[in-house]
Subunit: 237 residues, 3 copies
């Protein structure tokens, strides 16, 4: 059923439902059994896999803006959302993002340019991911957590709610210098507790656990359990 | 005035204003003096009380999605929003939610399935409430706070901004086991300060106060004032 | 190009692009070279400067609601967004707000009534600003940070992600008393680290630095570096 929507592409699979007031620009490719709710905008250059559902108000294909920005955004006008994904209401996906199969993007989650998100992930409600960050497979990032730019997150990582991460030790005092900027590296199997803050450039090694409310200021060894502000090693698992 | 909207129900009260590009599905019941702004979607099975105002971009009646989820969502396709409520722009209300009279749901607030919210409450901007949580009457939950699933919150509670709460002591390491999952119990008259993190299964007893930035790892007695990480009792009021 | 939009004003400059399903009420003034995406609502009394771009789902001109609110909102039905601003998808601008030139408002950022935001600022994704707050020029406020009501923020301030601020020492226990409510004063050149919580009425003096995860309970001197919970002075810069 296509009704009152603006559909400017013909590259649409079988059994696709595009609801009222959706806007789909030319050059968009849509697979089979896709459901697109009202008030969704999909810009040119976006590829949507089979069985994807896109909820109301989601905006797919945002151009990063330069106004007042320290750096000039660098990106390709392409997005790939693979099969069986769910894109929540009011989610925002910037250009140059790839999202693997079976991944759930929560309400209002916002993913900046040049990010690569794996398969079987959850990025929950109001998660914000900054530019050029990679997330592995089977990783879960819970509500209202912020993932900084130039961050690397492995497979089967669990990051709880209200977690923050940063990529600039100068807290913005030195302006933007690309070479100095580096987010955390979070290896496979790590768990990060609620409200933890992760400082720039640190590595949290495999299967480590970061306690709730910790401020992690240096590297965390494999299987270490760290807590506190600044976080210190309490034991190993 | 009904203009350019998609209105598939006839069960609409007197003096209702449905603005352009709203989408209202069949089986929706709308009371008297209701205002529905543009770009609102209301799915079947939703009942809207008298004098409710629903702001642009709000989505009422979201089906919980199973993609990559640990558990299969369980819910009825019903929502009741009682008289005099205000539902903010881009708010998302999942199925099987009840919201009492005179309650204000802020911009982008998102309430998951099987929640019961009382009357005279404020759930402010970007508050996220997870599944099967109850909130009493006269309770205020401030901006960007996350309320976990299976949490119980009493009457006249004040929860400040950027507060987090959790329901899984294993930080996601054991997968989802329904019996092990339990959010905090927050009794009547409790106040929780900004940025506090509340750990799974704890009880914060009546009229206790949790200081800003605290990590609450165990039960808090009635009228105790706790602070720190982990939070300890500083005094009683 | 005007197509399928609802445009009730004629006060529109040259080379303006209003996309499908935008709603622009009478009395709105739009400058030259403005781009308005689908699903934007602009209410009466809003003035948009030259070269402004407004992304999908943004709502400009929200009336503050009184339901369950402690105080009665006080505002003029006027908004001014000056030249070269970018208003992100799903952003919400309440009535009686002024935003200076070249300022970027991020996805879902929400600015309450009686706020004055300077030029060359960034208010990033899901930043919430409460009522009657002023922000100077060249100031950056990062993702998911909450700025409280009656707060004063200077020029060239950097506030990192997930920062909270409050204006009521009674944590809501005394109800709303206008005279008692006061947010922090953050002077020029201050930097506030990720996840810091700023308590009511404090002043952070010029060029001070607040470490990540700090809870700031008292005034911070000029050029002091404070950390911890409660934050204490570690050194001066």
């Amino acid at each position: 059923m296509i009704s009152r929507a603006v559909v400017q592409t013909e590259d649409i699979g079988d059994n696709v439902e595009i609801m009222e007031f959706a806007v789909i620009r030319e050059g968009v490719r849509i697979g089979n059994h896709v459901i697109i709710h009202p008030f969704v905008v999909i810009e040119s250059g976006v590829v949507i896999g089979d069985n994807v559902e896109i909820f109301p108000g989601s905006y797919i294909g945002k151009v990063p803006k330069g106004a007042a920005l320290a750096r000039k955004p660098d990106y390709h006008k392409h997005i790939e959302i693979q099969a069986n994904c769910s894109i929540g209401p009011n989610a925002v996906i910037y250009y140059d993002v790839q999202i693997g199969e079976n991944t759930l993007i929560g309400d209002g989650a916002s993913i900046r340019e040049r990010c690569r998100i794996g398969s079987n992930c959850i990025l929950s409600r109001y998660v914000t991911v900054n530019y050029a960050t990679t997330v592995g497979n089977g990783t879960k990032i819970m509500d209202s957590t912020h993932i900084t730019g130039k961050c690397s997150i492995g497979d089967n990582v669990f990051i709880s709610i209200c977690v923050g991460s940063t990529n600039d030790n100068a807290i913005g005092k030195l302006g933007y210098q690309e070479a100095r900027i580096k987010g955390p590296t979070i290896e496979d199997g790590v768990a990060v507790g609620a409200g933890a803050m992760l400082m720039p450039g640190i590595t949290i090694h495999e299967n480590a656990i970061v306690g709730a409310g910790s401020v992690v200021t240096k590297d965390v060894p494999t299987r270490a359990v760290v807590m506190g502000s600044p976080a210190t090693i309490k034991r190993y698992i």
